[in-house]
């Protein structure tokens, strides 16, 4: 039993990521998509927190949404894995449930 959590909102604008981090269980997967991908970047003032989160959870960011926004997939925080849509599908299949933090 493990859950894939998706977060699609900017961590600077909304509380969705906080809510997700507050309710995901250790070992769960968290995938950042859409405006959620900003939270994956190394240089933001959230980076320390996200690097930390990547030790408790399996942290992912969607490549298409990083590239859309001009965010370099090479510059995500340590422990964050960049996946494509096929990888998103694999994550949904590999976890027993999906929780979209809308």
């Amino acid at each position: 039993m493990s859950t894939l959590h998706t977060v699609n909102k900017s961590p600077f604008e909304r509380a969705n990521l906080d809510a997700c981090l507050g309710h995901a269980l250790p070992g769960d997967a968290i995938l950042l998509i859409e405006d959620g991908v900003f939270a994956a970047m190394k240089a933001t003032n959230l980076a320390a927190r996200m690097t930390d989160a990547a030790k408790t959870f399996k942290l992912y960011a969607l490549a298409a949404d990083l590239k859309a926004r001009g965010m370099d997939p090479a510059n995500v925080v340590d422990g964050c894995t960049v996946v494509d849509y096929a990888g998103f599908v694999d994550l949904a299949a590999a976890n027993s449930a999906v929780n979209a933090w809308l």
């Binding site: 699609n8 998509i33 859409e34 405006d35 298409a64 494509d84 849509y85 096929a86 998103f88 599908v89 694999d90 949904a92 299949a93 449930a97 999906v98 979209a100 809308l102």
Partner: protein, 119 residues
Amino acid sequence: MKFGILVNEGPYNHQASDSAYQFAKAALEKGHEIYRVFFYYDGVYNANKFGEPPTDDRNVTRNWQKLAEQYKLDMVVCVAAGLRRGIVDSTLAEGFRISGLGQLIEAGIQADRLMAFGD
């Protein structure tokens, strides 16, 4: 594996419908099955046949229609959410059908995973 897809927002204003489409496409290309795509809340606007985005942009409604045609997808618009917002028989794009919310619950039961995309 069988996926159910829930689209909560209308086209263009939010990326939700695009994300759902890209996910569905990737799942189908990997050989998975899409049990049903259900449009709820403002998601019902995806089925408005009168939408005509600028020609240099994607057409979200047409994207869904093409995918549905290629893979015989069941695309259901919630009747109550649609009536409230004016997505009814006379505005419904081809490839979509109008039905009750029970179709969403059924997708939740029958699909192995229910994927929600929204605001």
